[in-house]
């Protein structure tokens, strides 16, 4: 897989690039700010661009801005935003803008090459990826009358995995059941929460995240 890494901190950029290289990915370009990230993406046409959320010039949300531009201009290129912030707001902004081929992961998560490569592969396949810490925060959110109380532990687990952006088959792999079982779980969860089941997994992620954030 061909990847561009954009991060203004050399240490982190080199670290991510090193991990990717060891995991068998080809790092075809590196960038250090918004403009160079866009330029590298357009030049190298990678499968995925890995973007630090906070880069020059303003050190605020350049990663999200770059992600939106890349998804718009280069439909074949996915984006993975790495962030130090457990911010559902940012994650949702990313997938609201472009449902497919986008991911939001905490930086510390990618020190596990398996997680990083798995995320890149899913993004390259057009899925979306949401960091489990963020999903856990939303699922564990305090609610006065919690509709999630009606879910079994297994159903909660499935709901979390759906929110992380996993497809039915990926969920099935993760919890070692058949895909049909996952489908049945999904149907029941959606029924219990009063959500409309959407066949597209990405739209499903958005629906679940929005639901988790709004129910209080």
């Amino acid at each position: 897989m061909r990847v561009v890494v954009a991060d203004d901190v050399l240490l982190t950029r080199a670290g991510v690039a090193g991990l990717l290289a060891e995991a068998g990915c080809e790092v075809v370009g590196e960038a250090h700010d918004l403009d160079s990230a866009l330029r590298e993406a357009a030049l190298s046409r990678p499968d995925v661009v890995v973007l630090d959320i906070r880069m020059p010039p303003t050190h605020t949300d350049e990663g999200l801005v770059a992600a939106a531009r890349i998804r718009q201009d280069l439909p074949g290129t996915g984006v993975l935003v790495l962030s130090s912030y457990v911010e559902p707001t940012y994650a949702m902004r990313l997938i609201e803008d472009h449902l497919e081929g986008a991911g939001y992961l905490l930086k510390e998560r990618v020190s596990d090459p398996a997680v990083l490569v798995d995320a890149l592969r899913r993004i390259a396949d057009g899925e979306c990826v949401v960091d489990p810490t963020i999903v856990a925060l939303l699922v564990g959110r305090r609610r006065r009358t919690d509709p999630l109380h009606g879910l079994t532990d297994r159903e909660r687990e499935v709901l979390s995995l759906l929110a992380e952006g996993l497809s039915n088959s990926a969920v099935a792999d993760r919890i070692t059941v058949t895909e049909r079982t996952v489908e049945a779980h999904t149907k029941l969860i959606f029924q219990k929460l009063g959500l409309e089941a959407d066949p597209s997994s990405n739209r499903r992620v958005q629906a679940v995240l929005t639901y988790l954030r709004s129910a209080s």
């Binding site: 901190v9 240490l11 982190t12 080199a14 670290g15 991510v16 090193g18 991990l19 060891e22 906070r54 050190h59 605020t60 949300d61 130090s84 912030y85 457990v86 911010e87 559902p88 707001t89 940012y90 905490l106 930086k107 510390e108 020190s111 596990d112 090459p113 925060l137 939303l138 959110r141 305090r142 609610r143 006065r144 954030r213 209080s216």
Partner: protein, 572 residues
């Protein structure tokens, strides 16, 4: 001009009055103005009486007022003109008329200038005019023999008792020069009057209106007279042109008298107004009363009073800091024991420092001192508030910087360490080394999580980048109790306001968690330029730090049972 002793001026007045009774009588066959027609004689008397009356008004009300001497002298100089043709009267009479004639230009001009600008020094041009008039008078005295004057008419039969040697050519040349000077003065005076009227403020127009009219009339008459003499040098009181010019000059002199006397009369009038206003000054006078009273008394609505603060600088009556006013006319210092208490700012064209000082008086100075004390307190309060706001802002800025430093420094270092450890695990050769490295990597990640939470606690970056509502949504995501946020905000608010509101909600949520409340309801609304944050369900508090923080943003907190309401102004 140095104040001339009152007795001298009084004797000038009496002398002029006596002169009026010595008018040439109608038996002369060479007529003077007063013998040509009763109309002209009446005009002469009226103008002379007007000048004398104005002089008496000045002597009684304001004997040191500039222009008074010029006005006093104008009366005899004007009256003596009519003696020019009095060939069968006292021998000195026609001579006095000839010699003093040039002074009839600078004296009334001086009175007009002084009336328009009582606080300005005598302009150099006026001094020059006096000098030139004096030289012309001297030339006439020494060299002018009326008998040899080719343009003589009414004066031909008179004798110059001061004559040294008859030099008709010199006299004629000087007379022509003097004609030019008079025309120039007339033109300049008309121009000045127009300019005064043009630049005057409303209050200035009220005070200087009479002087402006007088200047315009006098300038016009001087100009007309010069033109008439240029075209027909011979003076003939019998012609309608010269009679008309004489009438016009008499009328101009009446206006000059009125224009000058208006000054002391108006001052007197406003002072009486002040006396009435001051009696109405209560102890509990509202802020700005002193300035209002001075404005009402002087008729200058632009009057303001700024108070000198002990720590330097000035504040207005409401205690707001103001830029130091420029010293000079229009800024009158009020002193006590040589220390400046306040500055009275006024329109220098409308009121002079004397008018302001007169308006101030004892009672108003006392009121001014009271107001100054209150202003000092208010200014200290304002400074304290500003200082508190600065402390809060500085604290915020430092927290933001700390968060950035953590994010860009320690967090990145720790991240790189975690990456390195992970790669070391992959390359470890022995199971023991692998176990140690794996555990080290887990510790590094735990440290990263703690660093991240620490940084977020110091300053949530999302608040700055995305705004209050997204920041509160994140707060709600991770809060230990349920947090419902309802908002009707139009968009982003000033950064300080957003941070303050965030702290209010964050601390309320923490208080709710501490008291075991099931959750809080937060509503955010904007009303009259304020952000209103209402939190229900946060328990009874205490909310001391919230109150301090909101007060630091110049807002206030209202605490009711189970309801906290913070109002934060969005404009400072």
């Amino acid at each position: 001009m140095a104040p001339v002793a009152r007795p001298v001026l009084w004797s000038v007045v009496v002398g002029s009055a006596v002169m009026l009774t010595l008018l040439p009588r109608g038996h002369a066959w060479l007529p003077t103005y007063s013998t040509v027609s009763p109309r002209l004689a009446a005009a002469e008397v009226v103008a002379a009486l007007a000048l004398l009356t104005a002089t008496v008004v000045g002597l009684l009300l304001d004997p040191t007022r500039p222009g008074l001497v010029a006005l006093a002298l104008a009366a005899p100089v004007w009256t003596v003109q009519d003696w020019a043709g009095w060939y069968d009267g006292p021998g000195f009479a026609p001579t006095a008329a000839i010699v003093l004639a040039p002074l009839l230009v600078p004296l009334p001009v001086h009175a007009v200038l002084a009336a328009a600008h009582p606080h300005r020094r005598v302009p150099l041009s006026l001094v020059a005019l006096y000098v030139v008039a004096g030289v012309v008078a001297l030339v006439h005295a020494l060299f002018d023999d009326p008998f040899l004057d080719r343009d003589c008419w009414s004066t031909c039969l008179t004798t110059n008792v001061l004559l040294v040697s008859a030099r008709p050519d010199v006299v004629h040349g000087v007379a022509l020069v003097w004609l030019l000077v008079t025309a120039t003065v007339g033109l300049a005076l008309v121009g000045l009057a127009v300019r005064w009227a043009w630049v005057a403020t409303r209050a200035g127009l009220r005070m200087r209106g009479p002087a402006i009219v007088a200047g315009f009339a006098l300038g016009g008459v001087l100009l007309a007279q010069s033109v008439a003499r240029w075209r027909r040098p011979r003076v003939d009181p019998g012609t309608s042109l010269d009679a008309g010019l004489y009438l016009a000059l008499a009328a101009a002199l009446v206006l000059v008298s009125a224009g000058w006397a208006a000054g002391p009369l108006l001052d007197r009038w406003t002072r009486r107004g002040v006396a009435q206003l001051v009696t109405g000054l209560g102890d509990a006078a509202a802020a700005g009363t002193v300035a209002r009273v001075i404005a009402a008394a002087t008729g200058d609505p632009s009057v303001r009073v700024v108070y000198r603060l002990p720590a330097g600088g000035y504040a207005d009556a409401a205690g707001r800091f103001v830029d130091a006013p420029r010293p000079g006319p229009g800024a009158l210092p009020v002193l006590r024991d040589g220390h400046e208490l306040a500055l009275v700012l006024h329109d220098p064209d409308a009121t002079g420092p004397d008018g302001i000082r007169a308006a101030l008086g004892t009672a108003l100075t006392l009121a001014l001192d009271n107001e100054r004390l209150r202003v000092e307190g208010l200014a200290q309060l304002a400074e304290l508030e500003a200082s508190r706001a600065r402390v809060v802002e500085t604290g915020d800025a430092e927290r933001r910087q700390l968060e950035r430093n953590l994010h860009d420094g320690a967090q990145q270092q720790m991240l790189a360490l975690a990456f390195d450890l992970r790669r070391a695990v992959a390359n470890a050769h022995t199971p023991d080394a692998c176990a140690v490295l794996t555990s080290a990597e887990a510790e590094a990640r735990a440290a990263l999580t703690e660093l991240r939470e620490l940084a977020h606690g110091i300053h949530p970056a999302v608040l700055e980048e995305a705004g209050l509502v997204p920041a509160l949504a994140t707060l709600a995501d991770g809060a230990p109790v349920s947090v419902k946020v309802q908002e009707t905000l139009g968009g982003r608010l000033p950064p300080g306001v957003e941070r303050t509101a965030y702290v209010v909600v964050r601390d309320a949520v923490a208080a709710a968690a501490a008291t075991g409340s099931p959750g809080v309801d937060v509503t955010l609304t904007e009303a009259d330029g304020d952000l209103v944050v209402e939190v229900r369900g946060a328990g009874p508090g205490p909310f001391g730090s919230v109150e301090d923080r909101v007060a630091g943003a110049r807002g206030h907190v209202a605490l009711e049972p189970d309801r906290l309401r913070a109002v934060i102004p969005c404009v400072s």
